[in-house]
């Protein structure tokens, strides 16, 4: 009998350790050898089997627990557990400090093989078991030969196996957890060695690793953590994890299908988008298209609907923080897809020799080809344009205990109408593009982890006309930013301390070319410098966690405008029962004056108006229900002590309103309840129901006037915000059918926004003129109606094809499959029968766009 072979595999840290995103982690190191004894008769000659344990290694290096993950027989488990608990380790460290860690430890048993001699008829069958469609080995798969009552052997951690069988035909059945049994027939010749690869099919095809949750810090637990199909297979999202945010509670949008999240009734510009703490101006292409970051580049998405951690400064509503996927050192990874509008690819290559890791991703649209056909079909004299591209590059380099990472990414959108006769007819475009490059270092220091980063970026947004190849008129907002950050984190016992500071310099200008006017006017140009510092202390005691922090910021508009803010924040969580967790939070938040969306120039230029200031208070409870269901109930109240939300109309046209006169003293509030009932992705089904009951209001000033336009005076009242939607409901469900088919559907319904003339028409009423005719006339602001409610259904169907090492997914994803048209405005006009009747009959006609977005594509992964 050969001596037992020991195999130690460190697969991963626990979820708790994974959350330590900014620290340098060292794995525990085994100090003493493993002495495991194979129980006699436990395996047939040449047979192999693995016992997988999840062991807990304490700060002193001893093994304090060994939970079983998988074992073919109790006697093997007992032998493995006895050997493992006797081990000692050099403990894992976080930032140089010993920490407790959980490690998957596999003990591999192998019985001595019979010797092959001239007189023996035994043949050697050996090889590997992999998951079909991938190159992933299947560990602890059992191989059953000729319908025997016990398995002949098991695969090791690398998926390899070896069998000694008599010559002749044999029926091999491979069984493994989460896989369908695979049956293979072999004909062995005497004294032959046959190498095979058995590829078995997973029960549930779930190759995805991205996670969305709304808390990232290790001192807090995720409130909503979505994973796998909950991110990639939700109908209407085109498989984009970032678009799933639009279906979470508390999130609305200016128009159904437009992926600009409005979080808890705040202005869209009050929500910040970050990729590894680098702020990006937009998340999605063309407002409703795919995200500007390739999905495979993203490992996790943290969504904070309120009470974001203090490291996110100068943001007053939600935070969407995407984390770049951490390097995978096992082998190169490649994926690519094509659909009707764009194609993308992701390549990840580890370079073991140098400790370097490179990942590149990007996508490019070919909408021009499609829309050119549409334009010709419409014969409208112009061709719609909707072009976009994005790219991402990540280079990681290990430098001893430290690490260095260069991250560069960018995006470009161009939409508009290209004239079919560009010599004589103007073409009009709206452009939006940005580029970012970030260099980050992580260095263990003084028992903690020091992070330093520098980011440079440019962005341009605006519109322009072209005639005969020349720019006829343009309005382009440009911003060049340079920022730096430094952070330090230290853990000690139940405490976690975070310190940090950041500095950002923004230089913005508006480039204007107007051919028609030679009028002299001032071109806006701003130089803004923003800086901040924060400290956060987290304390955990059993089921109770408290996180307290404070952040200070300065806002400077050159040459002499300054503003400062101090933001204290507190977060409490108590796991009152195995199934019940309660949480509460409060904080103060400041932001530079904001426009509807994040645009260059607009924020820094208005600092003199004061800071947008919000107090956020929220509380919630999460209950685990039977059948694996979860229900969450949250309430929030956000008080806008100073609502510095600039009017888009004023910015774009220079036209002020009575209400703009109130800008310096406007207040507001948003409050509501959110409910989420969820069936997490376990097995073949996933889904959730989210419902938000919200109210977002602003103090508004408006004129009170009579039907004959006599101004009776001015009034002030707390009126619904432009994007206020009282009810928002999302129902998401998905199911994996046999043969690789998956289906999912999304039902969305929202109540209408105010028809206030902001991002909509203004409600009009019929009045009688001097000649007795009825005419439309806008109503005072406190008398406007609501736009009608809207619902839509999205569907997604996909089929996965598993080739040997490649998986292909063919998918059809349709947003708004019923092509329903959301009413975003009304046209108030006068109708009549041409030639018969004067145009004096008032008509109110709804206007909207049926945002139907079908996406048919094919994605391959290797």
């Amino acid at each position: 009998m050969r001596a037992p072979v020991l195999l130690f595999v460190l697969l991963s840290f626990s979820a708790r350790a994974q959350a330590q995103d900014a620290g340098v982690i060292t794995a525990p190191e085994q100090k003493t050898p493993l002495h495991a004894v194979l129980p006699p008769g436990a395996l047939p000659p040449g047979g192999r089997a693995d016992v997988a344990l999840l062991i807990t290694i304490a700060e002193d290096g001893t093994v304090t627990d060994a939970a079983v993950e998988g074992a073919p027989a109790q006697e093997l488990l007992d032998a493995a557990r006895a050997a493992v608990t006797a081990l000692t380790f050099r403990p894992a460290t976080l930032g140089g400090q010993p920490v407790r860690a959980q490690v998957r430890y596999v003990v591999h048993f192998e019985a001595p093989a019979p010797s092959v001699d001239a007189g023996s008829d035994l043949s050697r069958l050996f090889g590997r078991v992999t998951s079909k469609g991938t190159r992933n080995a299947v560990a602890t798969a059992s191989l059953w030969v000729d319908d025997a009552g016990t398995p002949a052997t098991e695969t090791g951690a690398d998926g390899e196996f070896e069998l000694w069988l008599p010559a002749g035909p044999h029926h091999i059945e491979v069984r493994a957890a989460a896989h369908a049994p695979g049956v293979f027939d072999e004909a062995l010749k005497a004294r032959e060695a046959l190498e095979v690869t058995y590829r078995i099919v997973r029960d549930v095809l779930n190759p995805y690793e991205t996670v969305v949750r709304d808390r990232a810090d290790r001192a807090e637990e995720a409130r909503i953590q979505l994973s796998g199909p909950e991110l990639r297979e939700v109908a209407g999202t085109q498989g984009e994890p970032l678009r799933v945010i639009m279906l979470l509670p508390g999130v609305t949008t200016p128009m159904s299908g437009i992926s600009y999240p409005i979080v808890r009734g705040a202005s869209p510009a009050a929500t910040g988008f970050f990729l590894d703490d680098v702020q990006i101006p937009q998340l999605y292409h063309l407002l409703l298209g795919p995200s500007v970051i390739h999905p495979d580049f993203i490992e996790r998405v943290d969504f904070y609907s309120s009470n974001a951690p203090v490291r996110f400064g100068r943001i007053t509503a939600g935070v969407v923080s995407a984390s770049v996927a951490r390097p995978r050192d096992d082998r190169p990874h490649v994926s690519a897809y094509v659909d009707v509008l764009n194609a993308g690819a992701f390549i990840e290559v580890p370079i073991e020799k140098t400790g370097t890791h490179v990942a590149i991703a990007g996508r490019y649209s070919y909408t021009g080809l499609v829309l050119q056909l549409v334009g010709k079909a419409l014969a409208s004299g112009s061709t719609p344009v909707a072009d976009f591209y994005d790219y991402q590059v990540r280079i990681d380099q290990k430098l001893g205990p430290a690490s260095l990472r260069l991250l560069a990414f960018g995006s470009s959108d161009l939409i508009g109408a290209r004239a079919d006769d560009p010599i004589n007819d103007p073409s009009s475009y709206v452009a939006s593009r940005f580029h970012r490059a970030d260099l980050r270092a992580l260095v263990p220091l003084g028992g903690g982890v020091l992070e330093g980063g520098v980011t440079v970026g440019t962005e341009t947004q605006g519109l322009y006309n072209e005639l005969n190849g020349q720019t006829q008129a343009s309005f382009l907002m440009n911003r060049f930013t340079v920022s730096g950050r430094v952070r330090y984190r230290l853990e000690h016992g139940p405490f976690q301390l975070k310190l940090g500071a950041d500095l950002e310099r923004q230089q913005s200008d508006i480039g204007i070319e107007v051919q028609m006017s030679a009028s002299p006017f001032q071109v806006p140009r701003t130089l803004g410098v923003f800086s901040g510092a924060f400290v956060e202390l987290a304390y955990t005691d059993g089921p109770f966690t408290a996180v307290a922090g404070v952040r200070g910021d300065t806002f400077h508009l050159a040459p002499d405008t300054w503003a400062t803010s101090i933001d204290p924040r507190l977060e409490l969580r108590l796991k009152a029962h195995d199934r019940v967790t309660a949480r509460a939070g409060a904080g103060l938040f400041h932001q530079a004056p904001l426009l509807l969306i994040n645009l260059p120039v607009t924020d820094a230029a208005a600092i003199k108006d004061g800071l947008h200031t919000v107090v956020q208070v929220s509380a919630g409870v999460e209950v685990q229900l039977p059948l694996g269901l979860q229900v969450q109930l949250d309430g929030f109240y956000n008080h806008l002590l100073a609502a510095r939300e600039r009017s888009l109309q004023q910015f774009a046209s220079g036209l002020s309103t009575l209400d703009d006169r109130l800008a310096a003293s406007r207040t507001g509030r948003a409050y509501g309840l959110e409910v989420m009932l969820r069936a997490p992705a376990k097995g073949r089904f996933f889904g959730w129901l989210s419902y938000s009951l919200m109210r977002s209001e602003r103090l508004r000033r408006f004129g009170v006037y009579s039907q004959d336009q006599v101004l009776a005076g001015q009034s002030e009242a707390m009126l619904p915000f432009v994007f206020d939607q009282t009810h928002v409901l999302n129902l998401v469900a998905g199911y994996q059918l046999p043969y690789g088919f998956k289906v999912s559907g999304t039902f969305h319904v929202n109540s209408g926004r105010p028809e206030s003339g902001e991002f909509s028409s203004r409600t009009q009423r019929l009045v009688q003129n001097d000649f007795g005719l009825y005419q439309w006339q806008p109503v005072p602001l406190d008398q406007v109606d609501r736009l009608p409610p809207f619902w839509r259904i999205d569907v997604r169907v996909s089929k996965t094809f598993l080739l040997d090492e490649v998986s292909l997914e063919l998918y059809l994803d349709v947003l708004n499959v019923a092509a329903r048209q959301e009413v975003v405005a009304y046209t108030y006009s006068y109708g009549g029968v041409p030639g018969v009747q004067a145009a004096v009959l008032p008509e109110k006609t709804p206007s909207g766009i049926p945002l139907l977005y079908p996406s048919l594509g094919l994605k391959g992964s290797w």
């Binding site: 028609m516 006017s517 209400d659 003339g757 602001l781």
Partner: protein, 383 residues
């Protein structure tokens, strides 16, 4: 996609609470700021002065500066059918009145300076003599508006107890052919200021001196993409002091009957109240109890379309008829734009046609013009 963009950017639509700011300065004749000049703003519904509503009253500041804020509901028609004009007026202590009447109000408008004016009007053999209201050297070039250079007109207005009897200016509007016949350009052409005896008819009148500056400024929101752009704004002056006169040319048409109009005919009753026609017309038939031998025809207070065109008047008197074609251009009106109730832009006109000969006497006089009238105050026939 264009429609989608339009809808998404619809936040820039007009609202009743939109603010309009109008500012300016009141200056002395010497060009220095004159404080404490009373100012008023009136809303002129339908752009007819008789329907004015006082919106604001104020006085200029220490440097003569003034500023008024309005919301759209005050200064623009929300129903887009009945136009509204806004009139900003300064009343100088010496009696001069200076005003601008704006049929469209840009978001932010700095009016050309208001300056005091004493015209010292006299009549020299029936020809008005007056001092100028504006120094020619202060006039500027205009880009993007007509005319290409600011113009100052002077004129006289003749008022009776019932309305405006006549208006004469020292400029006419005419089309000129340029570039060897390839282009036609409209110009303001200076002409001698005249006040013919027929203008006064036999009314008891007050003659006053008035002036108009056809000016241009850059305003916010007037150009592409909401950027500053060119805007035409007229400034009007009324000088203090009047000449009280009595006309010496009685109209033979007084008391005549008009086809399609009630009796007594409002176009021949000597009252200068304007009459708006149910349908625009260019034909008038006047009937008299005694034969009239027509020598000249005056149209007073006409509201005509705004298009500049060659004017002709055909007059038929029984078996006799003639057509006159004045070639001196169309006298410009000192008054600003006028609107008729259906919202169409109109020009107020006072026009004297002197026939090439006196026509044979007739009791039915038919008039036909190339100009269509939305309304008219009086038709005067002279023998």
């Amino acid at each position: 996609m264009k429609r989608a963009l339009f809808l998404l950017l619809m936040s820039c639509g007009a609202g009743p609470d939109d603010l309009f700011v109008v500012g300016g300065r009141t200056l002395t004749r010497a060009g220095e700021g004159q404080p404490d000049v009373p100012l008023s703003v009136t809303r002129v519904r339908g752009c007819r002065d008789e329907a004015a509503t006082r919106l604001r009253e104020s006085a200029s500041g220490d440097g003569g500066e003034f500023s008024f804020d309005f919301v759209r509901v005050e200064v623009q028609s929300l129903s887009d059918e009945t136009p509204i004009c806004t009139r900003v007026e300064a009343a100088y202590p010496g009696g001069a009145r200076v005003w601008s009447r704006l049929s469209f109000l840009p978001y932010r408008l700095q009016l050309p300076d208001f300056t005091d004016w004493q015209a010292n009007l006299t009549l020299d053999g029936g020809v008005p003599q007056l001092t100028r209201a504006v120094d020619e050297q202060t006039l500027t070039e205009c880009r993007g508006t007509f005319p290409e250079r600011e113009v100052v007109e002077h004129g006289v207005t003749v008022r009776t107890s019932t309305g405006l009897a006549w208006e004469a200016t020292d400029h006419v509007l005419k089309n000129v052919v340029r570039d060897g016949g390839f282009t036609v350009q409209t110009v303001y052409e200076p002409v001698p200021l005249e006040l013919p005896p027929e203008a006064l008819e036999d009314f008891d009148v007050e003659v006053t001196a008035e002036a108009k500056r056809i000016g241009c400024v850059d305003v916010a929101g007037g150009g592409n993409l909401g950027l500053p752009g060119p805007f035409q704004v007229n400034t009007r002056w009324a000088s203090p002091g009047t000449l009280k006169l009595r006309g010496t040319e009685p109209a033979a048409s007084r008391g005549g009957r008009c086809d399609d109009l009630p009796e007594p005919c409002p176009l021949t009753d000597g009252s200068l109240e304007p009459v708006l026609f149910a349908e625009p017309t260019n034909r008038f038939t006047l009937r008299f109890d005694r034969p009239v031998s027509v020598r000249a025809v005056a149209f007073r207070g006409g509201l005509t379309d705004y298009t500049l065109r060659a004017e002709e008047l055909s007059v038929r008197a029984g078996s006799d008829a003639t057509t006159v074609r004045p070639d001196g251009g169309e006298p410009d009106s000192l008054d600003d734009l006028a609107y008729v109730p259906n919202g169409e832009l109109a020009r107020r006109s006072y026009r004297l046609f002197v026939l090439d000969r006196r026509l044979l006497p007739a009791t039915v006089i038919e008039l036909e013009t190339t100009r269509t009238f939305f309304g008219l105050a009086e038709i005067s026939l002279f023998e």
